[in-house]
């Protein structure tokens, strides 16, 4: 690694120091350089140019930038450490398909149906069933749904993807779920509920472990700007659209389907 010749020529302790110092520098450079490549350069190359994308089967784009008050609300969310107890990331364990008949179907299909399972299928099974039905002249659609513990809790319809956090700076992923996940909290409640819950959590949710945020309200119960911005941010949390990297059907699942 180091210049051997100079060491031989010097033949004293100076050469030793040069050699060790040089080795330490190179070793440290490689170690830090590699971790920089892996932790900074790689992710930046992959997601640094991430932009808005089209919602699946739609010309609308996602995500739309938050309104001003919601953007300020993110900083309120951050300042009060909401991410210490709430996550904004939904996990997904799997996906299921339902085959749904569309349009009118000939009697041959009705006869076939009793022998077929149409729900809780994998994509391969769904394709096979669709092929069987269309061979008899029937028309089908395959509906796809995400499954998982978080999704069955009603915290979302799909796993979280990088696009969901496009306008968040900093991203407030959170790691501990003392309270529920908030990825889709904007879909679940309205502003009145949010204010009531912030003011006195136990009045809205039984046995809530959340501390009261009464200090965000005036003495007469009027919400301060902080409270309004925070609620605007919470209501803007809606990761409810299908994307290419998180596909699902926006239609209602067939009755009896395990979701």
């Amino acid at each position: 690694m180091c210049d051997h010749g100079s060491h031989r020529a010097a033949g004293n302790r100076r050469g030793e120091i040069v050699k060790t110092g040089c080795s330490i520098f190179i070793a440290a450079f490689i170690a830090l350089g590699l971790s920089w490549c892996g932790l900074v350069l790689g992710p930046a190359a992959q997601l640094g140019t991430l932009g808005q994308t089209n919602i699946l089967n739609s010309s609308e784009i996602y995500p739309i930038q938050r309104t001003g008050d919601a953007t300020v609300g993110l900083q309120v969310y951050r300042a009060y450490g909401c991410a210490a107890c709430h996550t904004t990331q939904v996990g997904q364990d799997g996906m299921i398909c339902d085959v749904v008949l569309s349009g009118t179907n000939p009697p041959a299909v009705s006869a076939l149906l009793s022998s077929l399972t149409l729900t809780n299928l994998t994509k391969e099974q769904a394709d096979a069933v669709s092929a069987q039905i269309s061979a008899k002249g029937g028309k089908t659609e395959t509906h796809i749904f995400a499954t998982g513990a978080d999704i069955s809790r009603g915290w979302g319809m799909r796993h979280s993807v990088a696009e969901d956090f496009l306008w968040d700076n900093p991203v407030q992923l959170g790691g501990v779920r003392v309270g529920p996940d908030l990825s889709n909290v904007g879909m679940r409640y309205d502003a009145a509920w949010e204010f009531k819950h912030l003011y006195e959590p136990k009045s809205a949710v039984n046995n809530s472990a959340m501390p009261s945020f009464k200090f965000l309200f005036e003495k007469d119960g009027t919400p301060t700007e902080d409270a309004k911005n925070l609620v605007a941010y919470l209501l803007s949390l809606r990761a409810d659209v299908p994307l290419h990297d998180a596909p699902f059907s926006t239609l209602a699942p067939v009755a009896g389907t395990k979701k």
Partner: protein, 199 residues
């Protein structure tokens, strides 16, 4: 590293000192294991594709699980475009609004085998007297669809031509592109005669 001490030692002991170093093939084996570990890890993480998230394993699997494609996707896109642009006047179900816009459901122009007639209306706009579903309409329509992309335009045409009891053929994006090239810069369609003149 051991060069210094080695030079101080008698040469006869050189070989035994060398024998105690880690053989080179261990390094080669470790590198090989590391490489295969990396490949295995990569393969089960969708090759580190930024679009592939668990539980999806590969890009192909993700493609397979896209809800609808082809004709069904086109109808959905068409429905979205219709809802955002056309529905305000022509109604959610293409029923039209008296004094504002004629119906699309059962309209002769929409159901015309030649899609260019119906396409010319949102592309160029419409003036004058037209006959729709047994009723005469004398209204104006701005070129509402002129700014749509070819694929969105094709989707909304396909949608209105196959919904609410209409049963006309699908329109593809390439059809729209060719059609737009032929009528670029023309004035608004003028009444029934103007529509009939489009071939």
């Amino acid at each position: 590293m051991s060069n210094d001490s080695k030079t101080d030692l008698p040469t006869t002991q050189g070989s035994s000192s060398e024998g105690s170093t880690v053989p080179i093939w261990i390094f080669a084996l470790l590198l090989l294991i590391l490489f295969f570990g990396g490949v295995y890890f990569d393969r089960n993480s969708g090759w580190f594709d930024a679009q592939v998230y668990a539980p999806y394993k590969t890009g192909e699997q993700l493609e397979a699980y896209q809800p609808v494609s082809g004709a069904a996707a086109m109808m959905l896109t068409g429905q979205k475009v219709y809802g955002s642009i056309c529905a305000a006047c022509h109604g959610d179900n293409g029923q039209g609004k008296p004094g504002q816009a004629p119906p699309l459901a059962g309209s002769e122009v929409v159901n015309d085998a030649n899609f260019k007639r119906v396409a010319s209306v949102p592309q160029l706009g419409l003036n004058g007297q037209v006959q729709v579903a047994g009723q005469s309409w004398n209204l104006q329509m701005a070129p509402m669809g002129a700014a749509l992309s070819d694929s969105d335009f094709a989707a909304v045409l396909t949608y209105i031509r196959a919904s609410w009891g209409n049963k006309a053929s699908d329109v593809s994006a390439s059809d729209v592109k060719a059609f737009r090239a032929t009528i670029a810069g023309k004035p608004a369609v003028n009444g029934e005669e103007g529509l009939k003149a489009i071939k």
